[in-house]
Amino acid sequence: MSDKELTQRSAWETVLASLKKRSLWMLHYCTGCGAVELPPTMTSRFDMERFGIMPMVTPRQADILLITGYLSVKTLKRVILIYEQMQAPKYVVGFGSCTINGGMYWNSYATMKSLDRYLPVELYLAGCMPRPEAIISGFNSLIDRIDRGEANSWKDYYENYEFYRKNQEHTFGDIETHRSIADDAQYYGFVEVTK
């Protein structure tokens, strides 16, 4: 993020960040076809546990939400709920073309086109789908960002919730959230957002 925030970090936070980056759990959710490269990434050929990255089962436990490629509108709805249930700090990683500009489903009636209109995205990986090497590089890049204190995209969701909410409503009509984003924003210390 901005230089200001970088300089504002205390020494304690810097140390903490360098420890926190060593453990990152991703949500084990195959949202799209890119997920087929996740098992190789998890298992012995590429073994992402080397970097402290593990698949986790529920949103509560996870730090990383991988959007593995296209998101059908039906899945997108679930993904948004999942994201809201995750504990901060949380990172969304977009896999491949589909999360950026619709990918090969650019003219499909059933998939969303730009992920960053619905959720704040920390990183994008190029590829259709990204290979395990690229995924591992992506995770390393995320680790670096956390280390440098740059991985703050999640804050945007609470600071600019209106923007995301507007786009979500545009796509779904009304969406029923489980959590009060206003309360969450307050908890996280952001300005209160009117729901």
Binding site: L19, S23, R45, R50, G52, M86, Q87, D183, Y187
Partner: protein, 303 residues
């Protein structure tokens, strides 16, 4: 060291020492499993990073008062138990509480978990808890049975005393060699107590989405991890004290801890999990009769 300032230092330091041991064991476990699986695995202190990460997460979910209290019960209960398990150089509390106390205290954390998870109202969690309680009926009874045998043989229920007796008698008097039936039964029970495969039915991600942990995130999950890491060396120590003659020095203690844990891990690495009823049936079919037989033999010898 079991009195005065040394004692106070121990009381304060012991949880941290235990936690540190737990971290090492946990990391070792993950590393070893990884190697069986032909991969490199994480760093040796990976569990520490996990805990730090979890405890620094901004946790804003709470499923109510019970949810929070339950976490206290979980960690508190484990810490309490820990003090009653003698380790080299520290057996102050074990003179006040014998093995029966330990057995009793061991039930507190699952109870705490049950309360907390019940509060979250997640069906997966509820199933996980019911499984945990069912499993108690498997390994706990076996464990108690083996202990009864020992108590009968040596005429004491103090873990410290039992340990001392074995240390005095040398390896030949170690429970596992002296009473192999009880020892083998207790090894199975240990596997169950540590919730490792093939008895890992409580977490079972593919079946019930990590069961009790389903609703836990951030600090709550961190607490559970801390509890797990403290309980790990403690549970191994219980077994060690009963069947491997405890340890006289820290070097011996750590070596035995790791060797014992390795045994548990290799089984864990090459087996899948039973179904709950399968696990129970197994316990009732093999370890429990073994333990019972052992007890009978002790009784026969004693008569």
């Amino acid at each position: 060291m079991n009195s005065g300032i040394g004692l106070i230092v121990w009381i304060i330091a012991y949880p941290f020492v235990s936690f540190f041991l737990g971290v090492l064991l946990g990391g070792y476990g993950r590393k070893l499993t990884a190697r069986v699986q032909r991969r490199v695995g994480p760093t040796w202190i990976q569990p520490l990073f996990d805990v730090i990460k979890l405890m620094t997460k901004q946790t804003n979910i709470s499923h109510g008062y019970m949810h929070d209290v339950a976490m206290m019960m979980l960690v508190g209960g484990t810490l309490m138990t820990m003090y009653f398990v003698p380790v080299p150089g520290f057996h102050y509390f074990s003179q006040f509480g014998d093995y029966i106390v330990v057995m009793y205290l061991l039930l507190v954390p699952p109870l705490g978990m049950a309360l907390g998870v019940g509060q979250t109202a997640n069906p997966n969690g509820s199933i996980g808890i019911s499984r945990a309680l069912q499993m108690l009926a498997g390994y706990e009874i076996t464990l108690v049975m083996t202990f009864i045998g020992f108590a009968m043989k040596h005429g004491t229920t103090s873990m410290y005393e039992l340990m001392k007796l074995q240390q005095a008698g040398g390896p030949a008097t170690w429970g596992i060699f002296a009473e192999p039936l009880l020892g083998i039964a207790a090894l199975f029970a240990l596997q169950g107590m540590l919730n490792e495969k093939p008895f890992e039915v409580i977490i079972a991600p593919h079946e019930i989405a990590t069961g009790p942990m389903t609703e836990m995130g951030g600090k709550y999950l961190g607490m559970m991890f801390i509890q797990h890491l403290i309980a790990l060396p403690m549970e191994l120590t219980i077994f060690m004290n009963l069947f491997l003659g405890g340890a006289q020095s820290w070097v011996e203690y750590v070596v035995k801890l790791f060797v014992l844990f390795t045994l548990v891990l290799v089984v864990n690495a090459v087996y899948g999990r039973f179904k709950t009823d399968g696990a129970l049936r197994f316990f009732w079919k093999l370890p429990l009769p073994l333990a019972a037989l052992g007890v009978v033999m002790i009784m026969a010898n004693g008569m």
